[in-house]
Symmetry: C2
Subunit: 203 residues, 2 copies
């Protein structure tokens, strides 16, 4: 919470929590995007001084590493958990089930999180703390997907052929960004789904 002017100075310094500052930084990012984040605005939003922010996070890069690392990690886990929740409702899994559950190009185009992830990745090119954080998150996250793919293989409907590589490699190389730039000139949802169906359903 924000210190009132009447409070003792030493108390007011410690009364701004890290969580308050992170909340303010997130609100700024939602409003202005990752690249437009200004520490002065974060301080204003948390009703704190710049000094208080720097005491917790070192510098602007330290603040960004924490808040963007958190957003990145949450978006990875959120994607995985939502997907697996749907998978686990199925008594048996077919390739068609998986094709229908994977996002299509037009869904990607509508996804704000694609834009935010792209900005986080771009920022990590010049912020080594953030880069280390998202590397660590990604490396942990891949273990989740490996166990998710084990689950899928164990629950495949009889006779189904599933090329796990198609799923796991696409997971690691795919962003829809270039496709999105093409607008109507790009492949359609149906073409993409047929592609997945053919490639994931044969080895």
């Amino acid at each position: 919470m924000c210190p009132s002017p009447a409070e003792d100075h030493s108390v007011s310094r410690s009364s701004v929590s890290k969580a308050d500052i992170l909340r303010s930084a997130r609100a700024q990012i939602e409003e202005k995007g990752v690249l437009g984040l200004r520490v002065a605005e974060v301080a204003k939003g948390a009703n704190c001084s710049l000094t208080q922010i720097y005491r917790y996070f070192g510098d602007r890069d330290g603040l960004l590493a924490q808040v963007l690392g958190d957003i990145y990690e949450e978006s990875l886990y959120d994607g995985y958990n939502k997907f697996m929740a749907r998978v686990k409702k199925l008594p048996e899994i077919t390739i068609e089930d998986l094709v229908q559950m994977l996002p299509t190009p037009t869904q990607y185009a509508a996804m704000v999180s694609q834009e935010v992830r792209l900005q986080i990745l771009a920022t990590s090119g010049m912020n080594s703390q953030l880069r280390r954080r998202i590397e660590a998150s990604s490396q942990l996250h891949i273990d989740d997907w490996e166990s998710g793919l084990d689950y899928i293989e164990e629950h495949l409907a009889p006779g189904e052929v599933f090329d796990r590589r198609m799923f796991s490699i696409m997971l690691l190389v795919q962003t829809m960004y270039y496709r999105t730039l093409l607008g109507d000139r790009g492949f359609t949802d149906e073409e993409y789904q047929q592609f997945l169906r053919d490639k994931m359903g044969s080895k």
Copy 2:
């Protein structure tokens, strides 16, 4: 060229060319990255005033749209031209030739242009002029690739099966960024090449 202080003022204003400013902006980007570009530094590098830059480009976004749009377009054409120059040396084309010509994950990791393209894409999320420019470039560029893929199909070695979709969809969805974050935990060059071989060489 930059005006000397002795020159008439009206002459000095017009003597800074658009090209000089763009050259200075590129030099700044090479040194500090896309996200760190400051118009004041570009002006300093071109030995011009901010006013002169704004006269040509409107504002910072206008300058970025031009210089990043140029870099993006060149990187697309450069990739295409280099690939097709190699393809056109082959009397007959096999799937294995294509697999060997496509960049592997460890090559992507070493590519500076991957990082630069990512920064350009991220910037385009908040700069609608740049966004329109790279949309237009991408849409023109896809025609080149369609004719390149026609060429490949016409020069396939007898008996070769080529799934053109695998090439064109991967072209539009693939960045190696997530793979790069995984370091040693990600798939290997050999695994990736085997994946391409299997998927591109069957329908």
